[in-house]
Symmetry: C2
Subunit: 378 residues, 2 copies
């Protein structure tokens, strides 16, 4: 590792730059009170509107509207699109029909996980809806070097997520009652008052709802306003991918939970890797070897014997210790209101996980006892 960090670096002031993009929803999120941001795929993403407890509650109880335009798409179209997409994906896509989506692992030739996108199949193209990495470079290089007859680009597509138990009510108010028929990971190409969108029953929470993929950035303000208006009867409010709910639900933060060089088995993605299917994809031989030998580490949950104010929380990965020896990293600790406990996500040596040994993690004032558990928590 080349990096080091103090346990609590605060909230640095970010200087705007033309290198760091803003989303079509950015003015609306500012107007709604967005006051803390991250940079994701070289784009500003609001992560809080000033009341984290209310934002969590809305997600769990009613509905939340998230600007996740930073989930950029790599679009693949053209005669060889299907072949190229399969070659980039460690999952058998033989059953992926138009109108469906899959959570997939993209790996390099050594089986290292490069991204964990949701892959959408539209009528005439595919979209990899990406976690934080410039995968356009990867896809362009593979397409160009292998001579696939495919068009690869980052299109003008900006996801807006409506998440929560009333999320489908909001979606129905926006797009009509028929939208309720969409099964999980199914999608429809439609529009909202002439604003072209793709609506997919997906999202980075386990609370239900949809992601609305805006296909024309100029419609951002109108779409945000429409979603807020349609959601009013259902208690919608602004929110963002929620660090508490996602830890409770065991959802992966690629590049956050995963250390550099992790393979999918070390990222809790074994069920999405098809080793025996009759398809060829980058990294298959390496992944078979890793599966045979067994991965070196596993992604697990931790119960921490401390309040959240005593833990290193969300800022940085911290070491996990057994008998004074570093055996892994913890990437996110939160207080779970639903469990009434401090919980975390960690990547830990497999032998240590299998032995079930007592562990410790670095806290704000000394070590904190930790116990391994499975994911998800809830």
């Amino acid at each position: 590792m080349t990096t080091s960090a103090p346990a609590s670096p605060g909230s640095p002031a970010l200087v705007p730059s033309p290198r760091i993009r803003t989303s079509p929803f950015y003015p609306a999120t500012l107007a709604a009170g967005a006051n803390r941001f991250t940079v994701y795929n070289r784009m500003l993403m609001p992560v809080s509107y000033g009341d984290p407890a209310a934002e969590y509650r809305r997600l769990i109880e009613t509905a939340a509207l998230w600007d996740v335009a930073c989930e950029r798409q790599v679009e693949v179209a053209g005669p060889d699109a299907g072949r190229l997409v399969q070659y980039l994906t460690a999952r058998d896509l033989g059953s992926l029909e138009v109108g469906e989506a899959r959570y997939v692992a993209m790996c390099n030739h050594d089986g290292v996980l490069l991204n964990d996108p949701v892959l959408l199949r539209l009528s005439d193209r595919y979209w990899f809806s990406l976690a934080d990495a410039d995968m356009l470079l990867w896809v362009e290089a593979v397409a160009g070097e292998r001579g696939f007859d495919a068009r690869v680009c980052e299109p003008d597509v900006s996801p807006l997520a409506i998440q929560g138990p009333r999320g489908m009510d909001v979606a129905a108010a926006l797009f009509g009652e028929g939208i309720r028929e969409l099964a999980r990971f199914h999608l429809v190409e439609t529009d909202y008052e002439a604003i072209p969108v793709v609506v997919c029953r997906s999202g980075w929470s386990r609370q239900g709802g949809v992601e609305v993929f805006l296909r024309d950035g100029s419609g951002g303000p109108a779409l945000w306003e429409a979603a807020m208006g349609a959601g009013q009867p259902y208690g919608i409010g602004p929110g963002a991918p929620n660090p508490v709910e996602r830890v409770e639900s065991g959802l992966l933060s690629f590049g956050g939970d995963t250390t550099p060089g992790s393979n999918p088995f070390e990222a809790n993605m074994a069920r999405y890797v098809d080793l025996d299917a009759p398809v060829d994809y980058i990294g298959k031989a390496a992944l078979r070897r890793i599966a045979t030998e067994g991965p070196r580490r596993l992604l697990v949950g931790l119960f921490l014997e401390a309040g959240i104010s005593d833990t290193a929380s969300l800022e940085t990965r911290v070491p996990v210790w057994r008998d004074g020896e570093a055996v892994g990293t913890m990437s996110a600790a939160v207080h779970s209101p639903r469990l009434g406990r401090t919980i975390a996500i960690a990547q830990i040596e497999r032998a240590v996980v299998e032995a079930g040994a007592p562990l410790e993690v670095d806290g704000r004032s000394g070590r904190v006892a930790a116990t391994i558990t499975g994911l998800p928590f809830i």
Copy 2:
């Protein structure tokens, strides 16, 4: 374009995340008063220590110490390293000897500029010292797909720049008088009191000095302290890649000045593209075609007829207008103390540049008159 932004978005509070790395010099920069940051290659980079005028003056008159660890390296080693590096680079590397460096363009198969790194040739490996993009993905994909016998990684290497007219005095105090013999874009592998480094006479300013490539992150605090101590007699102080000096000097901000899809000719890099050399590299055919047809846009300087407080400054690209028609984008406007004028960098349609027509740019309160000029300004 998928993005939009208000003219002046302020300084958003950035929430720390394990996805966003900190540099080995980060604690030292905080202690030195770093108070504004950007995110570059998924790493925090300090961009100001609270007194921009003093930071500019130090760079022009004495010496400045910059944490540029975010200039990450892609390392290429192994039997096919030389062949792979040439294939990735739109410049003839036939004359690149061990101990030398070159400013190069990396392009995709369509001739689109992907990065403008400095390429260093060490005794047993190459480093692409990168601008802001995940080029590791590109290089790994090309190496893997083409079957080059090369090892590709991001090593534990963190550049620390010493820039300014007294920069070589500081370098001599640190590494011995012999370092003064280094010619521009030459490098030496050495150490500072057992901390392994590569010292290269380079840097993102035209004020002279070196970049010290720290090869062991754990030495970061000691190296920073040593440089500060050695530089004291020469008036060294903390600084960062300087937005004023770099515009005066016409240095490219990749991804800032360049719009998506720009080729090297549209980024003022024509002199670094070798179309006739007997070497093969990605994008060569496309670049030849573009050179024959002539690029659509050019990167130029602008003189603005307004004070800096009236311009959109550094936050975002803004349109450049001729007779009410958008003919390009302006990416950075600054007040040049040395010229006593407001100057900017812009990418403008070639026909408009050649016609020399009067232009306008969006300012904070209406349009501002602009005149095209060549780069650099000084």
